[in-house]
Symmetry: C2
Subunit: 332 residues, 2 copies
């Protein structure tokens, strides 16, 4: 059993309150007392029990990190940045893997049982209602990569997916493609819906360009590959805006198998700019989502909610931009 406050107090010959005070900053302790206590504490190898103290302070410094994107390589970057960012601020990530669960009830109950100080929902597929359920349960929440709404009910940090759809459309038009298509992620994902909407909106202004669309089953390599293999059976479009990078890479592999060339025969533009997109044997033209800014901002926001839980909800959107690599033909 690790030593407790009481053990330290006895060894130092002082009250338990005194020991507690030397370990909570801002508390009133004389230098002499502090030294005595610290000596006893180091001798015993004492460090305060964060959970016991949370009982009275009402703060656990635990942050729930909830996600359902454990198959998209970009989420490794996301977890890396979140865990490091939280740790730097003395917060601890309690990871929740939703798998296919889309009902927030279980997560909410669990995270409340552990008295988390706040929750970050990191997902581009869950609907706004998911995060809202946390807010309704009185848990401070930030939805990272979530859907932007003009009057957000919870804090959202991410990108304007519809604008990304428009941006992709403009890029394809600019490069002279006249027969384009959207190869989306799962139709139920908010990010898919928004990217699709923006893409179609922009193309609606160019009636001379033909557009089609289809959806993959997931944001994954296999789903992208499978869908593209199906598309290749009939006459494919000249260029595709794929739901995200991993989907794009799946599509690229299908195209390579078919003997067609990218960008000679078919153009592909992705979204995310995950590390892998820049790998020389992938070299994907894509739209960069500023992951690290989004995460830094999300952390800042959840931290500020710990101070002020009733902070008025806001949407923080970060601009994206096209990263030109080798999967779209050059502008002529």
């Amino acid at each position: 059993m690790p030593p407790t406050l009481k053990d330290v107090a006895e060894r130092a010959g002082v009250s338990r309150a005194a020991v507690s005070r030397t370990f909570t900053d801002g508390a009133s302790v004389s230098l002499k007392m502090r030294r005595k206590v610290e000596k006893a504490a180091t001798e015993l190898g004492y460090s305060p029990n964060a959970l016991a103290s949370s009982l009275t302070t009402g703060r656990t410094k635990l942050i729930g990190l909830v996600s359902n994107n454990f198959h998209n390589p970009i989420f490794l970057e996301v977890f890396d940045l979140f865990t490091r960012g939280l740790q730097e601020r003395g917060l601890r990530p309690l990871l929740v893997n939703l798998s296919d669960e889309t009902d927030p009830a279980n997560s909410i109950r669990m995270l409340r049982q552990y008295s988390v100080d706040g929750v970050v929902v990191a997902s581009s597929t869950l609907p706004p209602g998911f995060a809202k359920a946390f807010r309704d349960a009185g848990v401070p929440v930030v939805h990272s990569f979530g859907r932007y709404a003009s009057s957000p009910e919870v804090h959202v940090v991410g990108i304007d997916n519809a604008e990304c759809g428009r941006m992709a459309a403009r890029e394809l038009i600019r490069r002279g493609y006249r027969d384009v298509a959207f190869l989306g992620g799962p139709e139920s994902a908010t990010s898919t819906q928004d990217r699709f909407r923006g893409f179609m909106e922009e193309l609606a202004q160019h009636p001379e360009i033909s557009v089609r669309h289809s959806f993959a089953e997931a944001y994954s390599f296999n789903a992208g590959r499978k869908e593209m293999l199906a598309l290749l059976k009939h006459k494919p479009a000249e260029a595709y805006f794929c739901g995200d990078d991993v989907l794009s890479i799946g599509a690229l592999s299908a195209i390579a198998d078919s003997g067609l060339k990218v960008p000679g025969d078919i153009g592909i533009i992705g979204l995310n700019d995950m590390e892998m997109a820049g790998w020389e044997n992938i070299n994907l033209t894509t739209i960069r989502q500023p992951i690290s800014q989004i995460i830094a901002s999300s952390i800042e926001l959840i931290v500020s909610m710990l101070e002020n839980p009733d902070r008025y909800p806001e949407a923080r959107l970060f601009p994206c931009k096209v990263i030109e690599r080798g999967t779209l033909r050059p502008v002529d």
Copy 2:
């Protein structure tokens, strides 16, 4: 503020002990009492505070998941499997990102402050001493993907890396390569050292085959690419055993850039068989490490240590096998 035991007790008109008992299984409560309490609890939306109860039970159901491999895509699979496996058993993963920290002291202090019931160290690069420090601090620990020692001091679950090195060597020999090399991960990683040792051991029995070796700076795409680019400046070997898959993919990209063909001009064999290795545009011949078995076994082991913390340390090693794809030339 969420409702507490006291609120439920008052509403149900019973003692706090009675409420506590209806929420701890195995406790003595009459059916009538249980109904009364459950009614009050649901009306108030009560669920017990796990941290408060941990104070007396001595169990938090928190498991520290410590890793430093946030840049290797295979670790997304690792985190997925660990979080799901732990959740299924009612345990909660508290994620610790070591970044470049290799001193366990901070992690130990932090995880003890949160009274974790146990710790899983998931890393193929940290030395055995890292996990041992947890054990010495009285924290049940399992080192997944760690170095196997003939007399382990802590539980280790993983593979025999030296045997994998031998296996890679045998595979290259079998395919008639006579000028081979080891392109390792960072030299400080235990997995690199062991794979290297095994590889050299096997080749020592074939003096007619020339062998060389070098090390990349990290288990990452860029490091693999950079090292292979350097190797290509002089006459490269006929075939390389790369430290792991992501390193292999980096090497493949360098080779592609140079105009050489795989497997025509150079052969590559990796290790891990991460999902990406099977992607058709990568199609990497590699040695499969049975990730999900390793993780299932690690979880089983840490769970059993919760019951019996003094369980005699054991090493659990899982066999690996060559997965033949397209980056080694066929046996003639």
